[in-house]
């Protein structure tokens, strides 16, 4: 495996604030890598460290093996799709896309031809003559994508690429981005606070919390085997159980997590988890049933079509022992 991007104990402090705090990670070439975390968790700073807009306070960043500590952004063969797209308002779409080639000295005819090709890839062939101000949000995003990809970067960085789009467009773009990445084989690194986006698009992801990486793994690993309480809670809103409760339901005295979909409704008597129903939330494909077990609230996902308990009714939850995930770290 070739490593596209490597962080070795990288920190970035702003005064007393430790935006990125001792992060080490490796992103494989050709990966679709997500940096997931709440705002202020350090994921965007990590992205800016790769592009060169931030410099590490400590640690080393390598891109395809080369230490980039001394390399300014313009000489990194890495391109970014900015959150607000940052299209040049005074240039038309074709010139925007051709910009990277222009500053590298590619002739006008040649760079416009390649810009046109790249616009076709993002399905905007007819839009070269327009100004960015005349485009919709989704179209602007495609222009930003084309503008970055035309440079044939070794790594493409995407900062909350779908954040400004409405839901329907967002889902369509998710599929397109994924298809594009697979077709071009370029390493994609994208930052998002949306766990669904990260899980559905990435083939590997890092969960950030307070400047540190809480967990790195495939979406399946992170979802099914969260390493920390934070990950369990942030990715997929798992039931996080304290050590005493884990012990009571047959596990070791450690924090554990149980996915709501792993829980089934059962009679209250004899169930490991039981209590009165405190909330019912209809989610379309099913219903989220929450019970109070005294100290902790636990939720189960009940697929549509199954009978539902009434609020206040005493019910129990059953599960397979294999689904109880005990976390190594607190």
């Amino acid at each position: 495996m070739t490593v596209a991007v490597e962080f070795s104990s990288v920190s970035r402090h702003f005064g007393a604030v430790r935006a990125v705090d001792g992060v080490s990670l490796q992103i494989a070439e050709g990966a679709f890598f997500a940096m997931l975390g709440p705002s202020g968790s350090g994921k965007t700073t990590c992205l800016r460290l790769i592009s060169g807009f931030e410099k590490p306070t400590a640690g080393v960043i390598r891109i395809f093996g080369e230490d980039v500590s001394d390399v300014p952004p313009n000489r990194r063969n890495v391109n970014t799709v900015f959150q607000d797209y940052a299209l040049f308002p005074h240039m038309n779409v074709a010139d925007n896309v051709a910009y990277g080639l222009m500053v590298k000295g590619v002739g006008r005819a040649e760079r416009l031809r390649r810009a046109e090709e790249m616009l076709a890839v993002v399905k905007l062939d007819e839009y070269g003559g327009r100004k960015p101000g005349q485009l919709s949000g989704g179209q602007r995003q495609r222009v930003a994508l084309a503008r970055a990809l035309v440079n044939e970067p070794r790594v493409l960085l995407l900062d909350e690429p779908l954040g400004a789009l409405d839901l329907k467009l967002r889902e369509a773009m998710q599929d397109e981005l994924k298809a594009l990445q697979q077709r071009l084989g370029i390493t994609f690194v994208f930052v998002t606070h949306d766990q669904h986006e990260a899980l559905s698009m990435a083939d590997s992801l890092a969960v950030f919390n307070e400047g540190k990486i809480a967990q790195i793994g495939t979406p399946e690993e992170v979802y099914a085997r969260p390493a920390t309480r934070f990950v369990a809670d942030f990715v997929g809103s798992s039931n996080v159980l304290p050590p005493d409760m884990t012990q009571r339901i047959g596990g070791p005295a450690a924090w554990s997590s149980l996915r709501p979909e792993a829980l089934r409704l059962a009679p209250a008597e004899g169930a490991a988890l039981a209590g009165p129903v405190t909330a019912l939330r209809y989610l379309g494909a099913g219903t989220r049933v929450q019970i109070s077990t005294g100290s902790t609230e636990v939720a189960a996902f009940v697929p549509a079509g199954q009978p539902l308990p009434l609020p206040g009714q005493n019910v129990g939850f059953a599960f397979d022992a294999a689904d109880l995930h005990v976390m190594d770290r607190a």
């Binding site: 592009s51 060169g52 308002p89 005074h90 500053v103």
Partner: protein, 268 residues
Amino acid sequence: MHSERASLGLQIAAIGGLLFLHLPILLIFLYAFTVEERTYQFPPPGLTTEWFAVAWNRADIWPPLYLSLKVAAVSTVLALVLGTLVAGAMARSRFFGREQISLLIILPIALPGVITGMSLRSAFAIMEIPFSVWTIILGHATFCIVIVYNNAVARMRRLSGGLMEASADLGANAFQTFRYVLLPNLGSALLAGCMLAFALSFDEVIVTTFTAGQQSTLPIWMLNELVRPRQRPVTNVVAIVVFAVTFVPILLAYYLTRGGSETAGGGK
């Protein structure tokens, strides 16, 4: 309050105030056509266009006009460079002494011209610098910096910082980013700043009287004519020229920066 209309008295006072600001200037135009050359008799006893030809042929008007244009042009270029540089430094960075620098930029125009003029005069006296075109330019460029600065810094603040990063990200070096991204977006604001600076310099008289020595700029020529009038309508013709040379750039500057929070002139 939105539905409420202004009272008649307020309307009259407001419109009257605006007329008060504009009508006197119109008189300049009227008096350029009067046949009476020794007094300011109103209404003019007769009208003529001969003064424009007389003014054209007056040899004493041309050198001051050239000098004023030269001073204004050089001062504007200097102010453009210095004002843009300082705006570039001040637009985004926070650094120690920033407030003091912004005060220093504004001071030359905030303090009365007599102080700026007298200060320069004192310095020339101490350093025994003889009066020249450059002593005039020194003063003009100094108070024009703030005009360019005001226009440039407002536009830079409005310009998304992401654009410069995007340019660097796409491989442009600092100079290419300046040339292809910053300058095109800054251009109209800089042009507006230049026009205002030019107008301000072309018209300036107070500081100039301290830094010109025996030289005459057009405003100094006019001032002398006001104190010791010769052919009064000729002065009016020159006044119209001065008015036009300052008025047109101001109007252009307004249209160049319209629609932004930075509309030109707010900082004079």
